[in-house]
Amino acid sequence: MLLSREEEKMWNGEYGPAVEKAIRVVVRVGESLGATQLVKVSHVHASGISYKNVGEPGRLFIKHLASMGARVSVFSTMNPAGMDLECWTQMGVPQEFAQAQREIVESLVKMGFHHVPTCTPYLIRRPSLGERLAWGESSAVGMANTYYGATTNREGGPLALMSAIVGRTYYAGLHLKENRVPRVRIVLDERVRRGLGDPGVAGALGYVVGEIVGDTVPLLEGARSMNFDSIRAYVAAAGATGNIALTVIEGITPGWRELLKMSDSMERVQVEWSDITRVFEQARAESPDLVFVGCPHATVSEMKMLLEVLEGCKRVRSDIEIWVSTSRNVYLEAKEIGLIERLARFGVIVVRDTCPMVSPVTARFRRVVTVSAKSLFYLPRTNGVETSLVPFNMLGEVLCGEGG
């Protein structure tokens, strides 16, 4: 690896032991992935914050780093924690868990991380076109590359921490234009195209594409009707079932025409409406004990969609808990326009800083219905909870009691 003079100083310990350790890890991972130089980044987003996911080893790793005097050198944000940092007792989070979780977040804040834990860092600081980032959290990575036209690889949690300290990542993977060229053309049938305005349908498409495409860059044709929330749901699911960090969406992804021109031959894959319904029918949606919106963290518009569904019911079933998970920022925005209060009238619980995927309290539910295809992948795997996916337009059938 060719290092700049500044980077050599870091390597030689002139900026202290934390910087030295950090640059050595970034260089070693970079070398293993074929990089010959580092690249400066302007925003780091670290995943692996929830104590439920990283456990004691993760807590010790992060705490050790902070105690070495590590400081971030660029704007840095963190992924969701395992609990609402204020209302964790109401959530039923055990005391020991809360203590360990607080230590992780406090260590990161001490290092200079932005204090709001969320999987939607793009709503805290909007990435600009062509900007270089080092982000973890596959759904955020998908948004950065696919929607904002910024460049980032899917960084592993600890690597993003190291990148935050040195303000650099390795120059390889998606930082190279040739690796952003689509290799598989995804062609959608008419019914799928028409459905994509619903984040549930778009998420199911991502689920299918991730399984088919694996780890290459797909081109999505005829998906111009996708809105912001649909794109979020799509990239989140594609990053879960597959290794997809970038989808070139015709008409949406910045620079899609140029990337398309660079592509010589593409395998063609047709996705039918029946492929989508297969995802919805994986598990039964009957008699859930939790209905959940907010993976990735809900936007104001998704909360409004949920409210619309609830207001459309003559009576809302009282035997189902309804959760929305979102970031502290979006929560405030929703509160200002009275949305939180109106949702609360239907018994909706809005949790901040966390989500059912990374929280220990999810284990008490048996059957979950969600509009998020990413959680369809993770909830059964991380919490052993039976999970089914429905589109927003069918949520009423689940939530409305007798008499509709």
């Binding site: 070693r28 996911n53 456990g55 080893p57 899917r154 949690g157 780890d215």
Partner: protein, 125 residues
């Protein structure tokens, strides 16, 4: 094969033909791997699979496996990705890439292997 993290391992071989998401598919406390087609312990074994998928928290799962003494003795993949590579670098788990996808099917016939990461060799029997 190209060696990414140096080391040597000899012992039982575990071959998984599907991509693995360490988060959700490997239990860091027990070392148990659970994919759609496979349920087995990866602890102390030479683990072969196509590539990593899923959550970027996966690197911490590898680190935790090492912490609890449940890590595989080596990992061999078709293509290394940042998540698996980072996990192996910070946990010192020997890692190599460049095995052919069709070799994964062939390797399923064997129970044991010797992994020489210095030379980038995997010998199975």
């Amino acid at each position: 094969m190209r060696v990414l993290v140096e080391g040597e391992a000899r012992g039982e071989l575990l071959v998984c033909s599907e991509p693995i998401s360490p988060l959700g598919e490997i239990d860091p406390l027990t070392g148990e791997l659970r994919t759609r087609s496979l349920k087995a312990s990866i602890s102390g074994r030479i683990l072969v699979f196509p590539w990593g998928r899923g959550s970027t928290v996966g690197s911490y799962v590898l680190y935790a496996l090492k912490h609890y003494g449940r890590a595989p003795s080596a990992i061999v993949v078709v293509r290394a990705d940042p998540i698996i590579a980072t996990g192996c670098v910070i946990s010192d788990i020997p890692l190599a890439e460049g095995i052919e996808e069709r070799d994964i099917v062939e390797l399923k016939k064997y129970k044991h292997a010797f992994f020489n990461a210095r030379r980038g060799e995997l010998v199975a029997w």
